[in-house]
Amino acid sequence: MDKYLEMIRVRFLMMLAYRTNYYTGIFIYGINIGAYYFLWTAIYGGKEQIQGLSVIQMTTYVAISWMARAFYFNNLDREMAMEIMEGKVAVELIRPYNYLGMKTMQGLGEGIFRLFFFSAPGLVIVYFIFPIRFTWDLSVWGLFAVSILLSFFINTQLNLLTGLTTFFLYNNTGLIRAKRVVIDLFSGLLLPISFFPGWAQEIMKYLPFQGISYIPSMIFTKGFSHQQAIEALGQQLLWVIILVIPIQLLWHAAKKQLVIQGG
């Protein structure tokens, strides 16, 4: 376990090594939140509520979705694709650890870094600029914390899955991009799931994507009742467990037919 914790620390150091990325990141997230805030206020016009969400809830939803994204988001798929394409994965395989486990820890290190140095200060700033209502109910915060941890795992698992396809496709830039768009759209980051047409909502119930953004954001904005929130957490956990299966299958197949590219 020691080595995995050490990996989190190393990832922290790496994030610090590239400070500019970090500052531009804050800036980009700020712009995104601002843009969606103005978009939604325009859409609401004078209306009190759309689909059971008030305009303030909506603004909070947007702000919290983006801040949660800073935690669960990572580029593990792209990193893995690079490592596999350049043959660096050979070096990973001569170390006594689980490659995918180590990758997950790197993602977690990155997530924790952003949570503290990015989301937390960002949220304070956003709180003063936009009309956002935070709850001070500790149980909501607790549920939210569990929920974003699970979103991290679901998102990371999907990234690992996409990354692993590089072993078979050799170049999967297109797939990585497509995955990102699908996640942004179907996870409820751009649009809450309750705004989708009924049939689409029905389909999305059977997909893992809403566990990434929609569920934690709805918990935080109190769009869910306590009962619903608990059920939603169960659903997230279920997906975390289910997704282990295709990852393991793909990983075993990949090791069998692994080709180290570039000598």
């Binding site: 190393v10 001569i94 650890y97 692994l258 000598g263």
Partner: protein, 338 residues
């Protein structure tokens, strides 16, 4: 168990895809692709004893790296048996890699953006090395490789020679009984090369570390290895002492002359008429080279004959270099050594 590596009938095949030509060909490639089975390693067998330093050589694409990758558990063999440190590298990967160290000359295993010592610290945790072991062993390694001043620098700021010394240290953090070096001296200057060679000799003596070394720099092999395994197109074409290879295949010696006065080749040839000598002339430096059999009597006869007629400025007797021997073997693609 005295063998560090045992390999039997090891084979690795790759599918090599080929593209069809033209636009229609490209469309057909979308659905079905042509491929051929290419054999990178063709049923090779060898063993390496504990504490041995073995040079593993061959041309580019001969299958060296593929073998190393199978021996280190990265690639799965198509068929054949491997036992390294008494384990099957691929089956028990995580336990197995704990007992080996690997340096790939062309890839870094340090983390690019962080200081060298942070990489070391992480590897120390990864290999579960205790503080005391680390201090005992690594302080010595760091001192010998002279990398103390580099420890707090990020890897991306190191020169190639500095980085390679750190890579070597990183591969030795857990003091493995078996070390794989895949072209460790590629692109390094003479001083760094010498330092690395000395260091490898030292750990081999001190810890009885087995070393398998691939390189294109034959001076590395000459300096370190008593035994070489030579590979060509996936087959072992020679496995034995480097000395034998030289004695059996180092056919003859070279006599090099430089003269005080201007001499032409025909005149020199005339002097040694009747003796089995092949003369060559290096026009630029005016060096006359006589290629002759390795026979003491003949050598002195040639020298006497030449010295009697011409004034000699400089003279050398050379053995055929290993490089030349190896080049001959590559060209012929076979070795006839008993």
């Amino acid at each position: 168990m005295n063998n560090a590596i045992e390999v039997q009938k090891l084979r690795k095949e790759f599918k090599a895809y080929s593209s069809r030509s033209g636009l229609t060909g490209a469309f057909r490639d979308l659905f079905t692709r042509n491929y051929q089975i290419a054999t990178a390693v063709n049923d090779i067998s060898f063993t390496v004893k504990k504490g041995e330093m073995v040079g593993y050589i061959g041309e580019n694409g001969a299958g060296k790296s593929t073998t190393i990758k199978m021996l280190t558990g990265i690639l799965t063999p198509t068929s054949g048996q491997i036992s390294v440190n008494g384990m099957n590298p691929h089956k028990e990967r995580e336990k197995f890699v704990q007992t080996i160290g690997v340096v790939f000359g062309q890839r870094s295993q340090l983390w690019w953006d962080i200081a060298v010592q942070e990489s070391f610290r992480l590897l120390k945790k990864v290999y579960k090395v205790s503080d005391q072991q680390y201090d005992d062993h690594m302080n010595h390694v760091i001192r010998t490789l002279d990398i103390e001043p580099l420890l707090d620098k990020p890897v991306r700021k190191l020169s190639l020679g500095q980085r390679m010394r750190c890579e070597l240290a990183a591969a030795l953090i857990h003091n493995p009984p078996l070390l794989f070096l895949d072209e460790p001296t590629i692109g390094l200057d003479v001083l760094v090369k010498l330092k690395i060679r000395e260091f490898l000799k030292e750990i081999n003596e001190k810890y009885n570390t087995t070393i398998l070394l691939t390189t294109h720099d034959l001076t590395d092999i000459e300096a370190l290895c008593e035994r070489v395994i030579m590979l060509d197109e996936g087959n072992v074409i020679y496995d034995g002492a480097l000395k034998n290879l030289k004695e059996t295949l180092g056919e003859g010696k070279e006599l090099q002359f430089q003269f005080l006065e201007k001499v032409d080749l025909a005149a020199v040839k005339h002097v040694t008429d009747g003796m089995p000598v092949k003369w060559e002339l290096d026009e630029r430096d005016l060096i006359f080279t006589a290629n002759i059999e390795d026979s003491d009597e003949l050598i002195s006869r040639v020298i006497t004959a030449v010295a009697a007629v011409f004034k000699i400025k400089d003279m050398k007797i050379n053995e055929t270099s290993t490089e030349e021997i190896i080049r001959n073997i590559y060209e012929k693609g076979a070795v006839d050594v008993g």
